[in-house]
Symmetry: C2
Subunit: 918 residues, 2 copies
């Protein structure tokens, strides 16, 4: 912490620069930078974030030397502006704004026109010859000061303004004349006096205190208000929500006023240097004539498009457009700017990197490479996973969506668990989905939560919505793996299966009602909303030639090429069928990292053989049922090997507890009894026998195959026979057999022996040439601890795949189905920074992954290590896995591009980090 607390800027020079965001805040740093590069900025100064830090670390005291530094800087500013605080003849008026290192809504807003009082107002009127502007500035200041510094509700001022406007027949604010404005000022002063209790406000005043007329008092109160707002509940909430940690506090920007409200040659505006919605290289923004500050965004009057400025103020537009290009060239990124024109003179008040849609992000990055502004690596860094993701899915038509929002048709919101958008009729169970589909209807499946029984319904509906469950609940995982739209944990909804209704607040929705689902935001909308399909998917997956001609397709393909060149981590996909595999390859997956074979047992008739297998009372009966399942499974593997020609296919053996294959509801049990010619009591007994207190920690994974080795034999036969057949057809097959849920080396070796004996026999019989490997999931903490034993020796595991979903569950002791109840509370209380099921917990779970890799490679030098949990598609996790030295990550097919991008970013960040260290 330096002893300098205040940095000047403006008029071609500045004490600071753009790199000093940490101490000047984003706003202050960019004001300094703009000043330095010759962009017109009204002079002012920035009080650094260290002051805020000091204040909270020292019992809410300001540094002692600050006052003198403030005096000095006010004096300099007065000199520069040839004006004086509180001097009616030549008054200095300033704006006061907060500004932390990261943009942060919820902190104090802007105060304009600070320094005004009755005399100054008169003086200002005289000096500028613009009485209206003076009184307009005065009334704005009282409002802003009262609201922001004293915590008086804005509505109270608004109420007075409306009353006076309607009394005087003024439609918009600018219709009010000087007399009207004077009346507003009087009314506002009264509002202030009546409400300034100071309770909960950043600055303590008593109720009944008059509005402060001393400019220096106004300034000090405003500075305190900015600093106080750093710890406001709103700001704290925002930081928690956006995971913003480690900032020192906010800076305070004090800047001489430029008045946009000086009449028809004055104005104010906000703009993006390129189109923030689609990325087009065009000036994109709005402005208002004779207006100040927030008028543009507040919607008080309808602003004009920036292009119209050409007609009104040709020269100013030219200057502004020049500044736009200058800023882009300087910052090498699209900027979000604010400006004011005071009697024909242009001033820039702010510049910062502009928020953008996925489409815009990709286009801007891509164009800037072509324009030579940035290189390919920088372009890869500029595009986030979320950005990229937006290009892959159907979305609700933005205009229709906007209309729905304005019509208040959004009836509730859940977690955006599966991407895309959907529209259809409400149904409440999987059977109805299938039935309605036959009738040609599109449906949205609403459930409390889903279970494997619901998967057919999930597949056939447009989207699935649940009232419970989190981002890795069953519904979420299945939907994401299919790239299907899904919203989970919409807990405000009450779903009544019997009445077939959804109640959310006052809205009651019945079966058959049409709703739309926004998988990008989690919003649920009543009524029809059209959607548009991603050309990237049409081109890559459906091979649609028209789609391939679109710009977005071409950009996407190029961006992915750059990523591929850069990254070293391989990206595979979690795929359970030939179709999944096809999609995965189309999106760039370098193999299948996880094929969950149990998913093959739910489809169509297969479930009945599976159930027969479960009901079997002897090994013989079990083998018979397994024999019937064999051809299904073999056929699926054949399809997958074909799609993955030349790439590895990691096949995980049966994993879930058996009860998941049995119907849990009365009707389903009855159907099962009838169909299988057994008594309902027998079905119920089986369901009861398989019931577990904690199925997550129960009889599943390799434990099943150890109890019933014949399952392992059947699955190996299916894998190897399929591989033999495909090899004969000229396909390069690389089967990788994966034993799940291993915690002890003995478990692995018990099953690996069965696998190898079964496989070697078939390979010998068929005279096949391919080699296969046997490996294991590392998803039990114990497995990471004894990883060297598991990979060691001749019969050890040949590869590891870290199942970070389960590993997270057991390392934390969190059931992903139940933890939703407290995880949000934990995040609010800052116990967790983020949901560990979304981004891998590097400190705990990550430490076990590191241990597993290190020990595993001690046991077997060239052990292949990967990750196949949900984290494999989450950018921060992918980067961690890259650093940990994994060979690959595997994720849902539709997350593959995001993972590829993150893998590339990991390399670039590593490079830059190494450079910095040098």
């Amino acid at each position: 912490m330096s002893d300098k607390y205040i940095y000047k800027f403006g008029e071609g020079k500045a004490d600071g620069n753009a790199k000093m965001k940490e101490s000047l805040g984003g706003k202050g740093a960019n004001l300094a930078e703009m000043s330095s590069i010759g962009v017109p900025v009204p002079p002012g100064f920035t009080i650094v974030t260290d002051v805020c830090d000091y204040y909270y670390k020292n019992g809410k005291q300001l540094p002692k030397t600050l006052k003198a530094e403030l005096d000095e800087n006010i004096a300099i500013l007065e000199k520069r502006k040839n004006a004086k605080f509180g001097d009616p003849k030549s008054p200095l008026l300033v704006s006061v704004r907060s500004g932390a290192a990261m943009s942060m809504p919820g902190m104090m807003d802007t105060i304009l026109n600070l320094g005004i009082n009755d005399e100054v107002c008169e003086g200002l009127a005289k000096k500028t010859g613009n009485e209206r502007m003076a009184w307009d500035s005065y009334r704005r200041f009282i409002n802003m000061f009262g609201d922001v510094v004293m915590g008086i509700a804005h509505e109270k001022f608004e109420h007075e303004l409306s009353a006076i406007k309607s009394k005087r027949g003024a439609k918009v604010d600018t219709d009010l004349d000087v007399e009207g404005l004077k009346e507003v000022v009087t009314a506002y002063k009264r509002v202030y006096k009546e409400n300034a209790s100071g309770e909960g406000a950043p600055v303590q005043k008593k109720k009944g205190d008059e509005f402060p007329t001393n400019a220096r008092v106004q300034l000090e109160d405003a500075i305190m208000a900015v600093i106080g707002s750093w710890m406001s509940p709103r700001a704290e909430f925002y930081r928690t929500k956006e995971k913003i940690y480690g900032l020192k506090g906010t800076a305070v920007n004090v800047q001489s006023m430029a008045f946009g409200n000086m009449g028809d040659t004055s104005g104010t505006g906000v703009a993006f240097t390129r189109n923030s919605a689609d990325g087009t290289n065009e000036f994109y923004g709005e402005f208002l004539i004779n207006a100040q500050g927030e008028d543009v965004v507040a919607g008080i009057r309808t602003p004009m498009h920036i292009s119209e400025m050409k007609k009104v103020w040709k020269d100013i537009y030219k200057e502004l457009d020049g500044i736009r290009l200058k800023l882009e060239k300087h910052y090498k990124d699209m900027q979000d700017i604010e400006f004011t024109i005071e009697e024909g003179k242009l001033y820039m008040l702010q510049t910062r990197g502009g928020k953008r849609t996925g489409m815009a992000a990709v286009k801007i990055a891509y164009d800037m490479v072509k324009e030579g502004l940035i290189d390919e690596e920088e372009a890869l860094i500029r595009v986030s996973g979320d950005h990229l993701n937006q290009l892959l899915f159907d979305v609700l038509d933005p205009k229709e969506k906007q209309r729905a929002v304005s019509e208040h048709r959004v009836f509730t919101k859940g977690l955006p668990a599966g991407p895309g958008a959907a529209c259809g009729q409400v149904v409440f169970n999987a059977d109805d989905v299938v039935e309605w589909k036959k009738q040609g209807k599109k449906t949205i499946l609403f459930r409390h939560e889903t279970s494997p029984e619901d998967v057919i319904g999930m597949a056939d509906s447009e989207a699935t919505v649940t009232s419970t469950g989190g981002m890795t609940s069953h519904a979420a995982v299945v939907a994401r793996s299919w790239g299907k739209c899904c919203v989970v944990g919409a807990s405000e909804m009450q779903i009544d299966y019997k009445k077939k209704t959804i109640t959310a607040g006052k809205t009651v929705i019945n079966e058959g009602d049409v709703v739309a689902v926004d998988g990008g935001t989690g919003e649920l909308i009543l009524g029809e909303v059209k959607k548009t399909k991603s050309p990237v998917i049409s081109g890559l997956v459906d091979n649609n030639e028209d789609a391939k001609k679109t710009e977005v397709y071409k950009m996407f393909v190029n961006l992915m090429k750059w990523a591929e060149k850069t990254k070293t981590l391989k990206v595979r996909a979690n795929a359970d069928s030939p179709r999944d595999s096809l999609v995965a390859r189309a999106l760039g997956a370098q193999g299948v990292g996880l094929c969950r074979t149990e998913h093959m047992f739910f489809e169509g008739e297969r479930i009945w053989d599976m159930r027969a297998m479960i009901l079997a009372e002897t090994v013989e009966e079990r083998k018979k049922a397994l024999d019937r399942l064999l051809p299904y499974q073999r056929a699926d593997f054949e399809g997958m090997f074909k799609e993955m020609d030349g790439y590895g296919v990691t096949i995980r053996y049966l994993d879930p507890p058996l009860h998941e294959f049995l119907p849990q509801d009365e009707a389903g049990q009855k159907e099962m009894a009838e169909r299988m010619h057994i008594s309902i009591d027998k079905v119920k007994k089986e369901v009861q026998d398989l019931h577990e207190q904690n199925p997550m920690l129960g009889h599943r994974g390799c434990r099943l195959s150890i109890t019933y080795p014949e399952i392992c034999v059947m699955q190996t036969t299916a894998v190897i026979e399929a591989a033999c057949k495909k090899e004969k057809e000229g396909i390069t097959v690389i089967p990788e057999i994966m034993i799940p849920l291993v915690g002890k080396v003995e478990e692995f070796q018990y099953l690996a022996k069965i696998v190898r004996e079964t496989a070697d026999k078939i390979i010998k019989e068929k005279g096949a040439k391919f080699t296969y490997t046997v490996g294991t999931m590392i998803e039990i903490p114990r497995a990471a601890i004894v990883a060297d034993k598991i990979s060691g020796g001749e019969n050890g595991a040949e590869f590891f795949s870290f199942g970070t979903n389960d590993l997270t569950q057991m390392t934390f002791g969190y059931s992903r189905d139940d933890a939703g109840v407290f995880i949000s509370d934990y995040i609010e209380k800052k116990i967790l920074r983020e949901d560990p099921f979304v981004a891998v917990d590097q400190e705990g779970v990550g430490a076990l992954v590191e241990m597993g890799v290190e020990k595993g490679r001690k046991g077997r030098k060239k052990l292949k290590c990967g990750v196949c949990g949900e984290h494999g598609g989450e950018p921060s996790s992918v980067k961690f896995f890259h650093r940990t030295g994994l060979d690959y990550v595997s994720c849902s097919p539709y997350r593959v591009p995001v993972a590829r991008l993150a893998a590339a970013q990991a390399v670039i960040e590593e490079k830059r980090h190494a450079k910095k260290k040098k």
Copy 2:
């Protein structure tokens, strides 16, 4: 492995000695040792275990040099005995016996009289002048060879013998004359020929092969049979069951015969050098005149007590008693011996450490210290935890129990989860227990499994029996903590709550039937069986003066004194009430290592306030209910502090998921609705809302108090107010507040802050002087990984208590409620050596404990570390925790003596290990 495969012994000298058990087996080593110290042993030799090892490691081939060595040793033996294999004039007859380093039933039994055939038999008759003995030996040999070597069922021979006996009017075998015996030999040869298919037998012969007459062939077949029996399913099963690992194989003992069947001056017997039932220093055993081998134990004739030998064979008795004393003095332990008298000459055939009851083990160890045979440390090593445990509990009267067994009243068997014995009437729910108790009836509670709702029933019944669950199921843990009799997982039982019946096999038991429960063996017995109470408990806990005068009491107290002098690890108790604390102190606990506060919320009226707390919809309502719980909890703490004057009391805050406090059954829910004046629907909704997929990984532990901090405030208030009050009364209070289920340092710090603020305020107000500490359970894998963070810094945890129950669940991914299904299968398949919930898994869970201790003490140098899982009372685990450097273990009060003993043994073993290394 040396090149010497055969070791001679007998007649005052031997190649080997007692220390060579690993290679000579226990039997061979002791035969050598006895030979060396001048005890009469028939000469012979031992083929070492390396041969067996070699055989299985080299494709079932024997070492090439063995044959020559065998030839040589046979020649030596022939010379020593002045006899020849197969020589009718002076035939050498031998016995062949297996013998591994550890006693192992299930392997090959003894073969006697090997070397006999028709001519040898005649020769033997001539040489000894005892024709009867010759034919008796012959028929025995064919039977044993056929049975043991060829796998011919013993019954087939027995059948022939019976027929001949009954035809000839012989009551017992000795009634048969020479003609009879000849007829038996002929019949036996036929049986051999007809059945010697060799299928599954260790030695391959064809059906129809004649009985082998060549002595050398007989010997080689017998040797192969011994080696083959090492891998018999029976032997493998036994080793798995008894957790015997790492042995090389079995040795083979070939020994010249001493004939106990030479007439009235011959005989054979088995004996213990002291009474193996109660430890009395008296010769204790049985013998038979004119008998051979297994006759004594086979019960063919009724043997005589060893003391009767004084009358029959005074001199031999004197010699034998001399040998008894010599052996004890030499081996410094009670011995189990076998001997044979051949025409007045005594031969010892075996000596080994004798199996004994707990009572005998303690008495023998204690007496031997007094006799100067061993020192106190050796005495401590000689007594096992199981031995000690037997002294602490009620047991079924041995005679009555024996009768019940012989009357086939044992209807099923479960796991012996809670110690002791009980007898009472069968009931099926907790309410009935309470109701029947009011009527003065003693009950046994039978449940599928128990839940916290059942605890009152468990407390008021004599014992609890469940059909599911393992050694650490709810029922088992609760019962053990109370020292109550309990049997769990008696899975053969079908309990029908509706019909109120238990079905086990063909037995149907109705409500009200009297049953007895043996908590030491898990046996369940139909009908009344009386029990006897432990004088140790009467003396220590009930302060019964008569009990204190008993020898067993005195011995116990002295043994514990020796242990206390030796051990360094502290032993605390898990205690939830003043009564538990009293018992714990009486049994030597040095503080409470775990007080599960939730147990205080079930008793009596408290459950209703707890339920009101759960139903509360606002913080205010919740606080009100908590305020009502406060006095109960405070009173309990007061009582505990009083009992633990001067010792630490570790209090764990609320841990189980809230649903455990709500009734899960319809009737209970109805009662709750009525009593709390709410609708049954509300109750049901609450139960449903609190339902979790995996409650073990759900909203429990510190997660509860983070959601509802007011619980933490109430519990802290209760602890600290109680401590203040007791301090004023002159008691030294050492409260240790423990936050459960911490996985992140933020969780600990969030609650520790609340605890410290609340506590400091009360202490200041009351002017108290004691200090308290705040620590945490380490029971989540993640906590062990980040232990340095949790203990680090000023606000870090001041102590760790490893909750190895939950740590085992999460490290393995085993739910202790569900894992029973596969754990037994795992043990059978050698995937697990033992149930990790019984003995701590040192490799995995232990590694996390080590990591936690190491990291924890990195964060806080003098961090106190303990264990409070069920493992704290299991000897091998206690020793592991000692080695890991923990400060204490904590276990159920009744396990405290066992833990103290194990802690002392750990020190002694460490000392001995260090000495060995030197």
